[in-house]
């Protein structure tokens, strides 16, 4: 039993996503799922294994390799009464679907004077670490955060993935759901609860601490937690704030944490220039938390390069646990 007497079960991030989709499809017949090889094949990363068998080809639909019309059709279906989930096999391929996402889905509600709803989810496997090189490894979430009308979610744990995906499916807006591929096999115990809904726009403090705040999301959360555990032995207590949803962003939780600790590092896997860590850093410096800062706000992010193929080079792009530790020492003036 877990907290609150709820039954717990262990599952992977990929299983949690599958369970969220399946539960919502059982609950609401308007929820459908489209994408490339998501049917019998079970998805490029095996996320949807078994869904085709349960829901049939009417609601779990393999599409041609046509990202533009996958996103476009999801938009049209959403406007007319379905709640489509679309899988874009690699987030890199959203480039081919950008008109539908940015000019159509994101704009429709506002542009039509509030008289349309666009309840759709684009699931985007993202991130590096799989040896797939420059065109299959990007973290492009900042692009979508830059477009009003879109919501952007980037869960770091199986429990968050399940609860946030269920909320995203029930949301009346287009949601970009960023799934870092290296998380798919991560396991954790999650509440065995069909009503596990995590509202979009609510951060989670993954670890409490009083000395330095680290704001990060997705795959970097686990690395940061590992480092936090290590530096705790040296008497540095790190507070780890995982916004979970990038748009809307839970600014309050971030700002309050920085007011408490007076020091902050913002970390993302994506390239540094124009990355979302910069946005969060700017929000902090513009806020009342500025007056409480004992050190400059620090960013840690991926190098400004395409993701290289060689495993050692690939690893060197992303902030390592060593980099995170060094950054902590830096803001602590050690």
């Amino acid at each position: 039993m877990g907290r609150g007497g709820k039954r717990m079960k262990e599952m992977t991030y990929a299983e949690a996503i599958r369970e969220a989709m399946s539960e919502e499809m059982r609950r609401d017949e308007d929820v459908i799922f489209i994408g490339q090889d998501i049917g019998l094949y079970g998805g490029a990363f095996g996320v949807s294994v078994g869904m085709f068998e349960e829901f049939g080809e009417e609601r779990v639909r393999d599409t041609p390799i046509s990202e533009a019309v996958i996103a476009g059709a999801a938009t049209g279906a959403a406007v007319t009464g379905l709640r489509p989930i679309a899988e874009i096999m690699f987030m890199d391929f959203t480039t081919i679907a950008m008109d539908a996402i940015v000019n159509q889905a994101a704009k429709i509600r506002y542009m039509f004077g509030g008289k349309a709803r666009v309840p759709m989810v684009l699931r985007c496997p993202a991130g590096s670490g799989t040896g797939a090189a420059a065109q299959h490894s990007q973290s492009l979430e900042a692009w979508f955060c830059h477009v009003p009308g879109l919501k952007v979610v980037a869960p770091s744990t199986p429990a968050d993935a399940k609860g946030l995906l269920k909320a995203a499916i029930r949301d009346d807006n287009p949601v970009i759901f960023v799934e870092q591929k290296l998380l798919y096999k991560k396991k954790c115990r999650i509440p065995d609860d069909e009503d596990l809904i995590i509202p979009l726009g609510k951060a989670d403090i993954k670890r409490e601490g009083g000395d330095v705040t680290i704001v990060t999301y997705g795959r970097m959360v686990e690395k940061v937690l590992n480092v936090a555990q290590e530096v705790a032995k040296e008497g540095i207590n790190v507070e780890v704030v995982d916004p979970r949803t990038l748009v809307p962003l839970d600014k309050e939780t971030i700002i309050n944490s920085v007011i408490k600790t007076g020091r902050v590092i913002v970390i993302n896997e994506a390239v540094k220039t124009g990355g979302y860590a910069g946005e969060i850093a700017a929000i902090i410096t513009e806020s009342e938390a500025f007056d409480y800062l004992d050190a400059p706000v620090l960013r840690l992010a991926g190098k400004d390069v395409p993701i290289p193929y060689n495993p050692e080079l690939e690893k060197a792009v992303i902030p390592s646990e060593g980099d995170i530790k060094e950054a902590i020492y830096r803001v602590m003036n050690r």
Partner: protein
């Protein structure tokens, strides 16, 4: 196929509405009384109006940036449409969309689209909804010859064909993609031929013949309604005016434009109605007068409407 008198009368009325509406809009733009831009469909009224009218009321359309005739054909409140062009809060989009985004989703108008080819995917998705919900409705997807060269055209026709979706892809070929003649942007004359690549029927219709357009789309709608999959219809037509308000028409001759003016779709329908004794001269005149009156009334309605309040700026980004 016999077309009811009431339908013909309404068709003539709506084509006149489109013409007078756009002439009024053109006048406003020329005098700087409204801002932004607009894309007029003067000369293409049969192609837009008759196609939309051939649908059942509950069917859907995805319109284009040159969509005034298309949405008037679907049946629209001219007051709210004029108000939208003037950016007023009483407009279809509360003044936030303008000419390029007239939409009325609840009434089956999925919106005009500012992006060439932007409606293809939306139409396919809307048709998917109809198929899954077994609604019996069909979707009419308008686009131009220019959009037939967008990648979305290929993806949409292919997917709709594979899934047998109830959608009519309706290409208004007005011979120019902005200033570029069709001869310089594709190596074929008939866009309808592209249907063969998707294993679906393709048809060509004289887009300046309202009766032919109506019949072709009506037959097409019945075909796709039966679940046989999509079709492609190419409507050959011509816009008399420039691409948008900034167009000086340097890429075509006055003679060419005058030739097409002789093929005026409204005069042609009028001639048909009189010759076939569907309507008398005085009935025609009454319709034309009523249209002028209604458009003036729409201008008055729009002028008397408020601008959207500044507080509405941040509203409706999210639902």
């Amino acid at each position: 196929m016999k077309i009811e008198k009431g339908t013909l009368l309404e068709m003539y009325k709506r084509m006149n509405e489109a013409r007078v509406f756009e002439e009024k809009v053109s006048y406003f733009f020329a005098r700087g009384m409204v801002h932004g831009t607009t894309h007029l469909s003067i000369g293409e009224e049969a192609s837009g109006v008759a196609a939309s009218m051939a649908l059942n009321e509950e069917d859907l359309i995805a319109a284009t940036h040159r969509g005034h005739s298309q949405v008037i054909g679907k049946g629209i409140d001219l007051n709210r449409m004029m108000a939208e062009l003037l950016g007023k809060v009483t407009g279809y989009c509360k003044g936030k969309g303008g000419s390029m985004h007239i939409a009325d989703v609840d009434a089956g108008n999925l919106g005009a689209n500012g992006v060439v080819g932007g409606g293809h995917g939306i139409a396919v998705g809307a048709a998917l909804t109809q198929q899954i919900k077994k609604s019996g409705r069909v979707v009419l997807c308008f686009f131009g010859d220019g959009a037939a060269n967008e990648g979305s055209f290929h993806e949409a026709l292919n997917l709709a064909s594979v899934w047998k979706l109830p959608v009519i892809f309706y290409c208004e070929n007005n011979l120019y993609g902005m200033s570029t003649p069709i001869s310089k942007h594709m190596n074929i004359e008939d866009i309808a031929k592209r249907s063969s690549s998707y294993g679906i029927p393709g048809y060509i219709v004289d887009g300046n013949d309202a009766i032919a357009v109506y019949q072709r789309v009506k037959e097409g709608a019945e075909y796709v309604r039966k679940g046989k999959g999509p079709i492609l219809i190419e409507s050959k037509t011509y816009r008399w005016v420039g691409h948008s308000k900034s167009d000086a028409n340097v890429y075509r001759t006055k003679e060419e434009i005058e030739e097409w003016k002789k093929k005026c779709p409204i005069k042609r329908l009028k001639k048909y109605l009189l010759e076939k004794k569907v309507l008398r001269e005085d009935e025609i005149e009454a319709i034309e007068k009523k249209v002028i009156y209604d458009i003036e009334a729409s201008v008055e309605f729009a002028n008397n409407s408020e601008n959207p309040p500044i507080e509405s700026l941040l509203e409706d980004v999210y639902g």
